[in-house]
């Protein structure tokens, strides 16, 4: 396996310290950690609200969200944070010369297979993040920083399941 491109990336421990400091600033300033999947939830709710408002009003998931959140679903903290991630990732890619349209996949699968499995993986994450009250950033990373029992448990479950299934999906990546 060739990993020579690694030299272009930041030292992972240094990157970890920076990421930890970003998280710490978020906790210090806003009292909450990072997140990502919550923004997707806002997006889904806004779409359903726009396309089928009566359906949104009659379905428990949406109406419970409306009850517990006030104001526009777009004007939420996580939506703005994810927009920031998009911009931050773009700037970083621009500086390091990594902006390029491409499909990254294992050597033994087609682009089509890669896209199908990416969608499946995303869907699983979308569902899992609801049960886990957050994804890798919101539940696992931020949960770890504040020592939340549930967050750390979710973290171990995510990585544990990844390893448990690695053998079955090795064709996708190796």
């Amino acid at each position: 396996m060739n990993v020579t491109s690694e030299t272009k990336y930041m030292n992972p421990y240094l990157a970890g310290v920076f990421l930890g400091l970003v998280l710490l600033v978020a906790i210090y300033v806003t009292g909450r950690g990072l997140g990502a999947s919550g923004a997707v939830k806002s997006g889904v709710i806004a779409c359903v609200d726009a396309i089928a408002p009566t359906h949104a009003a009659n379905t428990a998931f949406y109406s419970e969200y409306e009850e517990s959140h006030s104001g526009s679903v777009w004007k939420t903290w996580l939506v703005f944070e994810v927009i920031g991630v998009l911009v931050g990732g773009f700037i970083s890619g621009l500086i390091s010369g990594r902006l390029k349209f491409k499909i990254e996949r294992g050597p033994n699968i087609t682009n089509k297979t890669r896209i199908i499995f990416a969608i499946i993986g995303g869907a699983l994450f979308g569902i899992g993040a609801q049960f886990g009250r957050g994804c890798t950033s919101g539940a696992a990373l931020s949960g770890m920083a504040v020592m939340s029992a549930g967050g750390i448990l979710t973290m171990f479950a995510i990585f544990g399941m990844g390893y448990a299934l690695a053998w079955f999906f090795c064709k996708l990546w190796l």
């Binding site: 060739n2 992972p12 930890g20 999947s37 998931f61 995303g122 699983l124 973290m155 996708l172």
Partner: protein, 395 residues
């Protein structure tokens, strides 16, 4: 004292902060190589452990930061968002996400970052997350019961394990270090020794282990501000307490009470039962043992308001006033230099035959009736219970 939201930063400004935090988040993720699904998936096949390194270093940095900030009283950890624990949903959700990770090669945060650099597979992944959430929403009534089951509130893992936050942070750091070394060996073996992406040299290892040992030592002996203030105030000898606590003249206090002075608040640190039996009019009861609890912070730390403490004796009041000072250095605290019983006999139950001094007699007789009026007013409108600040967060 953090967090600055809500309070110093609100509304739109908080959204600007969100944007900036996200900017830093996205930038670091991309710099670390998280925009590549093959790098991310490498974690599960042993050829690239960058995810583990960045993730654990970040988690531990932030965790230690939170412990240190709260120790120095710069961050009120009772006001930060702690992810709730729904035990079985947390496990099942994690397992589903783990399956998503190995098939999709991203997690939601990294997929956004990767999409920003043009990865089409990441865009497909994001599309998938929308489908997933939409599916969940549509079938929500089916899972609803499980979704809200085994709710344990928001416990800290350190509390569950019965160790202090400092010890827990130290254990996690030690665990991460072991993982770093182990994965480094695995990675070398999987990739062949020639490619050594990041090697921990001997000197560097010594420095890291030494630094962690020092941090660990400090953290184990570092109690949080609440425990520390409480222990400190309770440990001092009575002499020291009385020397350090500032007293208010009882007559002055009575004059201020009768004038309904809004810039003082009288705090009774005796037990709730003692308070119920009898107390100084307009006083607020905060039992000594509860004084350091977070719900009283806002009460004790009102700007420009003088806290006047009294208890069964002046030493108890003194300890309370010092504790208030430790909790917030800006608070202004005084004590009634006598126990409640003495104050009661001198003012509330003043006996006119006890003194021959004309001016004292006149003042205290007048005070007795007016204090009685205050007490009646108070029963009509008792002070509102303390409010714990609302905490928002989560995915």
């Amino acid at each position: 004292m953090g967090p600055l939201v809500p309070g110093l930063i609100n509304g739109e400004l908080n959204l600007v902060v969100a944007l900036l935090v996200g900017l830093g988040f996205g930038f670091v993720l991309e710099q670390a190589g998280f925009s590549s699904s093959r790098k991310l998936a490498g974690l599960f096949f042993g050829y690239d452990f960058v995810v583990l390194r960045v993730f654990f270093t970040a988690g531990i940095t932030a965790m230690i930061g939170v412990v240190v900030l709260s120790h120095f009283g710069w961050l009120d950890i009772t006001r930060i968002y702690i992810n709730p624990t729904f035990l079985y949903p947390a496990i099942v959700g994690g397992l589903i996400m783990g399956a998503g990770f190995i098939t999709g090669g991203f997690c939601p945060g990294t997929s956004v970052c990767a999409a920003a650099t043009g990865k089409i597979d990441a865009m497909a992944f994001i599309f998938g997350t929308f489908i997933g959430v939409f599916g969940f929403a549509e079938f929500y009534p089916l899972f609803r019961e499980f979704f809200v089951s085994s709710n344990f509130g928001a416990p800290l893992l350190s509390d569950v394990l019965g160790v202090s936050r400092g010890v827990f942070a130290f254990l996690m750091t030690a665990m991460a270090l072991v993982a770093f070394v182990a994965t480094n060996i695995i990675e070398k073996r999987v990739n062949g020794v020639k490619t050594t992406p990041i090697s921990l040299g001997t000197t560097r290892s010594v420095i890291i282990v030494g630094a962690v040992a020092i941090i660990g030592f400090v953290m184990i002996f570092m109690p949080d501000i609440k425990t520390a203030s409480f222990a400190k105030a309770s440990k001092l000898s009575s002499d020291v307490v009385l020397k350090q606590a500032e007293a208010i003249d009882p007559d002055d206090l009575v004059v201020k009470l009768l004038n309904r002075d809004r810039l003082i608040q009288v705090i009774d640190v005796r037990t709730a039962d003692e308070f119920k039996a009898s107390h100084i009019p307009s006083a607020r009861n905060i039992p000594y043992d509860e004084l350091a609890n977070p719900e009283w912070r806002t009460v004790l730390q009102k700007a420009d308001v003088l806290n006047v403490f009294y208890g069964t004796d002046e030493v108890q009041a003194g300890r309370a006033s010092l504790m208030s000072k430790y909790l917030d250095d800006n608070s202004v605290n005084k004590i009634l230099p006598e126990g409640f019983a003495q104050f009661k006999s001198q003012y509330i139950d003043f006996d006119a035959t006890s003194t021959k001094d004309e001016s004292i007699l006149r003042f205290r007789t007048k005070a007795k009736t007016e204090l009685q009026v205050l007490l009646e007013d108070e029963t009509k409108a008792p002070p509102p219970p303390p409010k714990a600040p609302k905490i928002v967060g989560g995915c």
